[in-house]
């Protein structure tokens, strides 16, 4: 009884971590834009960045159950850090990215002490409040951030010394996609580990976890910091690929958008953020072209339809439809 029971979680995790053929196809497909639609690479890069940001939110929302309305704080913090580093003369992308990610992680680590103590509506509103405070601070510190006009003078050097960030967005998409894939692998590993299982336990029943020996607050702080790092990377990517940073990166609007995207795709499924980002941003781009003034209406209808017909997000709804659909990971 003891040896086989102990082997079960191990085997479960091993089964989860194997690559499914569809996943391989998906990641190969992300290379298609280079060939099929080279004029859409800038959009593709921004979709990849949004997907990465949504992935970071999934780690805390989908897996640890922390609903945050202020996650853009780390995105924007990473964005401004990367932008300022470049503005002050160091335009090397990768090192700038690492520093920005570390800065966002530090901010995440500090705030995680507050986050870990609260739940439910109080937590949501506190994350909202902290996000809004940071956005206000950035507006006030316009000598540093450029205020509403945005950060000017961000000039990036060539990626890896070879690829320039040009009008076509080739380097931008390659860079963003590489980071997305890399951090996706990290997230995947994290989720399919005992730590990941513990997080799911916290999400389901936070009160009981300490009873089985899992230190909830410590786990929450850890995942929150990691999510902040990843969000910071996404923000830094945006700053570097567009060579501009605005207050909008810290805004409530961005926090709300990424939350909508994640729920749309399906939280707690690792691919939910990516699917949500693709669908939301492509829909927005196309609808806004067709009808610049009222695309909001169609997006709203899409959201309502998804909730009614595909509960638990697109991936969740599809899982329900598939007979052998896997239950929530």
């Amino acid at each position: 009884m003891t040896s086989s029971a102990a082997a079960e979680p191990q085997r479960y995790l091993e089964a989860q971590i194997r690559w499914r053929p569809l996943e391989i196809v998906f990641w190969l497909a992300t290379l298609l834009p280079f060939v099929l639609t080279p004029s859409y690479l800038v959009l593709a890069s921004q979709i990849a960045i949004t997907a990465l940001f949504a992935l970071s939110l999934d780690l805390i929302l989908g897996y640890a159950g922390i609903v945050s309305l202020g996650h853009a704080a780390y995105f924007g913090f990473g964005s401004y850090t990367a932008g300022l580093i470049a503005k002050w003369g160091w335009g090397e992308p990768l090192s700038g990215l690492i520093i920005a990610a570390a800065a966002a992680g530090l901010l995440g680590y500090l705030t995680s002490f507050i986050i870990a103590r609260f739940r439910h509506l109080a937590l949501i509103m506190i994350t909202l409040g902290l996000g809004l405070l940071l956005a206000e601070a950035a507006n006030s510190a316009s000598w540093l951030t450029g205020g509403a006009d945005g950060l000017q003078g961000v000039r990036m050097w060539n990626l890896l010394g070879i690829f320039p960030f040009d009008l076509y967005g080739t380097a931008a998409y390659g860079y963003a996609l590489a980071m997305l894939f890399l951090l996706f692998l990290v997230a995947r590993r994290l989720i399919n580990s005992p730590f990941g299982l513990a997080l799911r336990g916290i999400r389901e029943n936070a009160v009981r976890m300490p009873a089985i020996g899992a230190p909830s607050p410590a786990h929450i702080r850890k995942i929150y910091t990691i999510a902040a790092v990843i969000a910071g990377v996404a923000g830094a990517l945006l700053a570097q690929t567009t060579e501009t940073v605005s207050l909008e990166t810290l805004s409530f609007q961005r926090s709300a958008d990424v939350l909508v995207i994640l729920i749309l795709g399906g939280a707690g499924r690792l691919y939910g953020g990516i699917v949500g980002a693709i669908i939301y941003m492509v829909a927005r781009d196309q609808l806004s072209d067709i009808n610049p003034q009222y695309w909001y209406f169609w997006i709203g209808t899409l959201l309502v339809a998804v909730v009614i017909f595909l509960p638990n997000g697109i991936l969740g709804g599809l899982a329900r439809l598939m007979p052998s659909g896997r239950s929530r990971a």
Binding site: Q152, L167, T242
Partner: protein, 392 residues
Amino acid sequence: MRQTLVGFAVFAAAILAFAPAEAQQTIKIGVILPYSGQFADPGAQADNGIKLYMQQHGDTVAGKKIEIVRKDTGGIAPDVAKRLAQELVVRDKVDLLAGFSLTPNALAAADVSAQAKKFMVVMNAAASIVTTKSPYMARVSFTLPQLNEPLGVWAYKNGVRKVYSIVADFAAGHDAEAAFQNAFKAAGGEIVGSVRYPVVNSDFSAFVQRAKDMNPEAIFVFVPGGSQSPAIAKALADRGIDPRQTKVMAQAELTDEQALKNMGDTALGIITSAHYDYNHDSKLNKEFVAAFNAAFKRNPDFFAVGGYDGMRLIYEALKKSGANTDGEALIAAAKGMAWESPRGPMSIDPATRDVVQTVYMRRVEKVGGRLVNVEFDKIENVKDPVKARSAN
């Protein structure tokens, strides 16, 4: 996961559905404006101006057909504006860029104009530095210092010595504050106090109270339009500040048509500086207003005239360059161009590529039962003072 099939399918379908359009005998203009969100109305008015000009002058210039590709920024979103500009250049293969109601968006898109060497016409964004960001950019709207410095000079000349200033706490507010205060202080006046209010503010009573505490002769205000114009007028009235006694001075947004409707008689006496008003008494303007009303059932405002004059600049520059859409050719054609606009005479300064125009001083009065801005003074050939000073 099976579910990733959806992501893949959607991704592939989305990619494959797109097909770039090809055209030879057309000139494509990429128009980037905020068609949705908080700034949707200025965007709509600018677009109306563009449509009216094309309606009146046809859609063929120098033998080529003009095609407009519209993109929505949704508000202040420099990364989106830059991406849209990039896509317009790379994907839609536009020949020139136009629009830009908001400074941050204009600044971001300027990069694309400079890199791709595309002629860019700014139809509203008003910060002084905008035109410095790309050598192929011309502006037809106005700059904040252009409107606010004359206001400071005028105030002193008309006996005002003590002013309290209330501005919105963001870049445009700071610019307006600096422009007014510098001009006023240079003339010899005293700023007895100033406050910057948070941009998303709806209740001005606290700020007006602060102003009232200082007992100034005049209050200088900058609000970015929208709901804040009537809100501040009401706050002034609530605190018993009558614009006819204590002068209230601002640039045009404070007393635009919608704001006046909302403010009612509390607006009487407010003094504003502007480059355009639909009541401006000139034959050209009366025709413009009539045509605008016939087409869109509302009066034009300075956003609309920005769109209108922007299109005029594009058309005339194309004619002058012989339909050569090269950025160098068009900007060379645009420099120094002068014409009579519904707003009055205007021209593009060859040195800065910025607009030079007449600034009108107006006061809100009741004419024929309606509240209107009545012009009582004007300053001609005003260049953007900030760039003019740095050039000397």
